[in-house]
Each structure stands twice: as structure tokens, then as C-alpha cells.
Symmetry: C2
Subunit: 192 residues, 2 copies
């Protein structure tokens, strides 16, 4: 299948690695101490906090050229928990795309809590759906194939401009979980 590099060994990095491995892909998992290790995947998931994106783009930009790069972040201002840290008409994914003009940048995995990616269900009641936005149809199809081979559903959410709405959804879902309106194992399900 594909060779996938995942930058970030936290919850999201680990669970996305498991999904990719379930689909018989090869996976390279790199932590923050692996800055000297080259990224070899055709698909690269940046499973890091929003604040780490700019540094990765600046140090690994040349290396990521030509690759499918997946931004999973929710750029929430956790100091106030009342807004995002990106321009209101933009998105973290748009910033990554601007910083990596030679990569094919996708937004994905930011609307699914780690627990729903690990269990494959939203609250045990609905299948987990990964919403994928991006401007490169082939790149979206590649990531969708990885997601579905890993046992989850994938839905094309449109162009990379829709990352603004995906990040709004991710933020809203975080506020609902933080205020105990939904569980961290549940949240928004996409019912077809």
C-alpha cells in the first residue's frame, strides 16, 4: 500500500499509526528528538500541536516537497478557549499550505477525537468518519484509502478552504467535551 511517516508520538500520532498499520501500510513514527532522521513517507502526517507546525515547515520544507502532508491540528487558543489562533477567514491547514508550497496539503483527523479513531466508533453508536479537505484529488484519495483500509470511514469534505469549517467543527466539539455536553469518546458523527 503506502509508506507513511507520522511526526508526533502523542495520542493522535500513535492512533493514526495504528490505523495505517491495520491497512498493511508501512509506518515510520518520528518523535520530537528525531529531527535528524529524514522523512521517507509518501504521506506525512503532522500529528503535532499547532504551535509546532511552523518549525517543522521551516526545517523540513525541502524534504516534504512533492509529498502528501496531512495537518490534523485544532489551533485553539487554550488560554481563553474562546477562539482560534489562526486568521478568522483562514485555517492552520492554509498556513501549512502557504509554508509548504511544493507539498500537497490535506486537512484531516481534526474532527475525530483520538478515542473515536482508536475504537472506530463515535460513542459506540456510529462509525467514525474522517473528514478530509484538500485541493489535490489524488492526495485525498490516497489518504481516504489509508483511512478505509484501517477500518474507518472517509468523506471528502471539499477544497482546502473547507479546513476553516473543519477547524471550527473541531473547536466546537472540543468546547462541548470540555463542558461535558459530549464525552471524549463521542462527539459529532457523520450520518450519511
Amino acid at each position: 500500500m503506502a509508506h507513511i511517516s507520522i511526526l508526533g508520538t502523542g495520542t493522535m500520532g500513535s492512533v493514526i499509526a495504528s490505523i495505517a498499520q491495520a491497512g498493511d501500510n508501512t509506518v515510520e513514527l518520528l518523535g520530537s528528538n528525531d529531527t535528524a532522521t529524514p522523512v521517507t513517507g509518501d504521506v506525512v502526517v503532522l500529528a503535532v500541536p499547532y504551535a509546532a507546525l511552523a518549525g517543522i515547515a521551516s526545517t523540513r520544507g525541502a524534504e516534504l516537497a512533492g509529498k502528501v502532508v496531512v495537518d490534523v491540528t485544532n489551533p485553539v487558543d487554550f488560554a481563553t478557549f474562546d477562539s482560534l489562533l489562526v486568521p478568522a477567514d483562514g485555517s492552520a491547514a492554509a498556513e501549512v499550505a502557504a509554508a509548504l508550497p511544493d507539498s500537497r496539503v490535506l486537512k484531516a483527523f481534526n474532527t475525530t477525537f483520538g478515542a473515536t479513531l482508536a475504537s472506530g466508533t463515535v460513542g459506540g453508536q456510529q462509525p467514525t468518519t474522517v473528514l478530509i479537505a484538500g485541493d489535490d484529488a489524488d492526495a485525498k484519495a490516497q489518504l481516504a484509502a489509508i483511512v478505509t483500509a484501517g477500518g474507518l470511514r472517509a468523506v471528502d469534505a471539499g477544497s482546502l478552504r473547507r479546513a476553516r469549517e473543519l477547524e471550527a467543527l473541531g473547536f466546537l466539539q472540543l468546547t462541548l467535551a470540555a463542558t461535558e455536553k459530549v464525552s471524549w469518546t463521542a462527539g459529532f458523527a457523520v450520518v450519511a
Copy 2:
């Protein structure tokens, strides 16, 4: 229970009227020709397109003072279907609140397709949840009581600032339905 005025006799106005009536509230349903009829409800649902909000605020502003006013709109630019017509850091609800400073403005019903309000389910698989944002806790509780008495679930989605995220969610859901990723009888479900 409550006396509710609904401005707008289209799909959303009709279905919200049914929900309110199911809960033994009294309902006044006013169409676009009823401009001379005073609004008598304690809770007023503006079930009109986004473009009609400014006119209602300007002609009925004094009448709506002190009342709970519910904005249900998705201010989508349907010419491009690629962005909203409101400032990126704002919302239609914020505009209504600015135009009606003496009303208690809520955002609700914009993340639930009419069919899911009518059936009470998202695609027959999950209960329909009405997300309600606003700055007045009593107003939110009043609307939540109407929604739950009508057989649906209601969830407090936070302050009126969250209307930005609710409108992003509503917009994203419309794009998913328009591209046949979800049905007009389904969409996003809130799984607790």
C-alpha cells in the same frame, strides 16, 4: 408553556411551529405579508433567509425588545457556495444581536436540516439535537425547554460567540449534502 412567534412560513418555520405545538405552546406563525401584525410571542423565531434579517430588525426592533429572538440562518454565499456572507470572525447571529441590542438573541436550528427536525432523527439513526448558543442562560433554557417538549434533544453550545462555529458547521453540512456525501435527511449527529 410559552407563547412563540415564528416569522417565516417556509420549511423551517413550519417545522419549528410543529415542534413548538407538540410541546403545548401557543404558536403565532407570520408570513412576509404580515408586516402589520404585531409580534406577540415571548420567544420569536426568525425563520427567514439571512438576507431578510436586517429588514426585520429595522422594522420590528422596538417590538422585539425584551424578547428571546432566535436566529436560524446559514448565511451562505450561494453564488459561490464557497464562503459565508458574514465577517469571518462574526456570525449572522452576532449581526442580529448588534441590530437588536434590547433583545436576547440566540442561535439555534441552523445545524439541523428541516427533515431531521420533522422526523426527530438524523437519518433514522440518531436523535436530532438542536445546538443552542447565546449569552443569556435563561433564554437558552427557555428555548431548550421548547425543543425538548417537542421531542428533540437540546444542547447548550456556549456563548453567542459560538454562533460562528455553528454557522461553519451548518455551512459544511450544506456542502456535504449538496455534494451527496450525506443525505438531506441526515448529516451531523451529536452523540453524547
